[in-house]
């Protein structure tokens, strides 16, 4: 369970171009939630996601993970959280373009000291689970946007995280592919993985069981 209490994020603090990206955001995420976050461009969705993923530090407020305040945790332990507790899908995939799909998917496991042989096995079985085993040996820069999107998701789930934070995971998909992806998300959600999905797509938002809205850094449910 995650609790955010009065989180604030200010970019370029004390400079003329200062931006308050999040304003006193409070939020509770329960295990098993399937949450959609919608909002106009520049409203702070990605910022919220990055704070949840411990990629950025809030300027004020509390972040409780299973009751523990983790805002002041050392970088190393935050990195360990990203490596085990979270699965992260970035807005533009965050894949190593010149490497193979397989290696990209292995990354969290290799970083987490899993042996390459086992990491490979896990990556292949994840690809099979998602119905795209044929992509394994391809290079990422040979893939279509939709394929990259799936690879990014495969990487986010390969290490069996508790919660997946996804930034626009259907942004590059047509409606048929979006539908397929939603089925996959449902399946994974039923297996117990919590989802928090940033989206512009009303179909995706409706599909989720909770809808959050963010405008100008302010969150509402």
């Amino acid at each position: 369970m995650i609790r955010l209490n009065q989180i604030e994020k200010i970019y370029q603090k004390a400079k003329p171009n200062e931006v308050t990206a999040l304003k006193k955001v409070s939020l509770t995420i329960h295990d098993g939630d399937l949450i959609a976050i919608t909002g106009p461009s520049g409203s702070g969705k990605t910022t919220l996601l990055h704070i949840l993923a411990c990629l950025e530090k809030p300027d004020a407020g509390e972040y409780l993970l299973n009751g523990q305040n983790i805002t002041e945790l050392p970088d190393r332990q935050k990195a360990d959280l990203r490596n085990s507790y979270f699965g992260i899908v970035l807005q533009d995939f965050g894949l190593l373009e010149e490497e193979s799909v397989l290696l990209n998917i292995c990354l969290p496991l290799l970083i987490g000291k899993t042996r390459y042989k086992e990491a490979k096995k896990a990556a292949i079985s994840t690809l099979e689970h998602m119905g795209i085993p044929s992509l394994a040996s391809k290079k990422v820069n040979q893939l279509s946007g939709g394929q990259k999107q799936r690879v990014a998701i495969a990487r986010a789930i390969v290490h069996k995280p508790q919660i997946i934070l996804a930034d626009e995971p259907t942004g590059a998909l047509d409606s048929a592919n979006t539908e397929e992806l939603l089925q996959l998300i449902r399946k994974l959600n039923e297996e117990g993985i919590t989802f928090l999905i940033v989206t512009h797509n009303p179909i995706v938002a409706d599909f989720c069981t909770r809808q959050l809205h963010i405008i100008d850094g302010k969150l509402s449910e």
């Binding site: 990629l55 990195a79 085990s84 970035l90 490497e99 990354l107 290799l110 987490g112 042996r115 390459y116």
Partner: protein, 408 residues
């Protein structure tokens, strides 16, 4: 093994770019070695001297006669033995080392039927005390002072040993100023000196060996029953002082007493002069400045390249961080990835340097020694630390999100 797999991700996919860094480091290594060599030789000579004299190194005073006296000795056989005895009689002196150098021809190949071809060598007679000092600098054999089968036992430089090795007998003809044969000496080689040695009594009685490894040196102990006449010692001495004396004071006293008859130098006088000479004019090059500049080029060239490379890897770095890599491990990986290129290039540079530098006909180059390796390693580590420090400053100031969006 994961570390290598991940470090590889930080190397550019463009092999040429990585190779260029390798080539740059290769040549910088060669050049650094080249400019370090005079310093290294200086150090080697000094430590050789210390190995021979130990604590007494600081209790040596060297006497060199005036140029005119040296010429008189050489050209007119003028004998300065009385003067040398007088100097050696100083209360502070424990041992006076003497030597004398003559030119001698040695046959090196037998021409078909005719006279054998001869080559000129430096034949040096040492007083017994001086000759004994060579024993610790032999790479092979031993020093012998008594005649062996009616032949004069000699020790030779390593280059000379290529002509006559241990056990070989040869006849040396000492020649006068007009190439006339003065005397013939039957010699037997009993020892071979190390490639670089200190002879604290040769020709100008320098503390230092002639670094020219091509030189052909033959050393023998004098006087000897086999030598026709009394040796005419060079007008030069190396004085080893008694332990409870002061080298500077003795030098000053001797200077005053024999003021018009040459110079007196302590070990540190000699080495500071040598050092000044080395860092300024030796070989017409400004060794000190060169070493300094090359070290800067090395650190900024090598370290700077790693820094630039690292900056270009921002995206990969951020992707790894997002997937759970933490900062210190990231630094290690980054280091590992640059070592994958820089270590092989440095090793190749060290291996190729002796060959390349000799090809460039840099004659004072005497080869790679542990000392030069230490120097190059220090520079290597310095450059790596420089690049790590710069990387830390760069990365620490930037959030992962910025690294990701700025990358590529």
């Amino acid at each position: 093994m994961n570390a290598f797999r991940l470090a590889r991700l930080l190397l550019s996919k463009k092999l040429l770019k990585e190779l260029l860094l390798g080539v740059q480091i290769f040549f910088m290594t060669v050049f650094i070695l080249m400019v370090i060599v005079p310093f290294e030789n200086f150090y080697t000579d000094y430590s050789n001297l210390q190995r021979i004299f130990g604590e007494k190194t600081s209790h040596l005073v060297q006497y060199n006669a005036t140029a005119t006296m040296q010429q008189n000795h050489l050209m007119n056989n003028t004998n300065y033995d009385d003067l040398l005895d007088e100097i050696a009689a100083n209360d502070a002196v424990q041992t006076a080392y003497r030597s004398c150098e003559v030119l001698a021809n040695v046959p090196y190949a037998s021409g078909a039927g005719s006279e054998p071809l001869k080559i000129q060598t430096n034949f040096i007679f040492d007083s017994p005390e001086l000759f004994a000092l060579l024993s610790s600098q032999l790479q092979q054999g031993e020093i012998v002072t008594e005649p062996v089968d009616n032949a004069l036992p000699v020790v030779v430089s390593s280059h000379f040993a290529k002509l006559y090795d241990i056990g070989k007998v040869f006849t040396a003809e000492s020649v006068g100023l007009h190439h006339e044969i003065v005397s013939q000496i039957n010699c037997v080689v009993t020892g071979v000196l190390k490639e670089r040695f200190v002879h604290v009594g040769a020709s100008d009685l320098s503390f230092q060996a002639n670094p020219n490894e091509e030189a052909l040196y033959v050393f023998a102990c004098a006087p000897s029953a086999l030598l026709p006449e009394k040796i005419g010692w060079m007008p030069a001495l190396l004085l080893e002082l008694k332990p409870d004396t002061n080298a500077e004071q003795t030098r000053d006293a001797l200077c005053e007493q024999f003021s018009s008859l040459g110079t007196f130098q302590t070990t540190s006088d000699f080495y500071s002069e040598q050092f000044d000479y080395m860092i300024t004019v030796q070989g017409g090059a400004w060794n000190g400045l060169m070493l300094f500049l090359f070290a800067l080029v090395y650190i900024f060239g090598f370290g700077g390249y790693i820094v630039v490379n690292t900056l270009q890897k921002r995206k990969v770095f951020s992707i790894l961080m997002i997937n759970g890599m933490y900062f210190s491990k990231m630094l290690c990986l980054n280091l590992l990835s640059s070592l994958l290129i820089t270590i092989p290039a440095t090793v190749l540079g060290i291996l190729a340097a002796p060959y390349l530098i000799r090809k460039l006909a840099y004659t004072t180059f005497t080869g790679i020694t542990p000392g030069t390796i230490v120097c190059i390693l220090l520079l290597f580590v310095g450059s790596v630390l420089f690049s790590i420090a710069t990387t830390i400053v760069q990365w620490r100031r930037t959030s992962i999100r910025e690294l990701y969006t700025q990358g590529e």
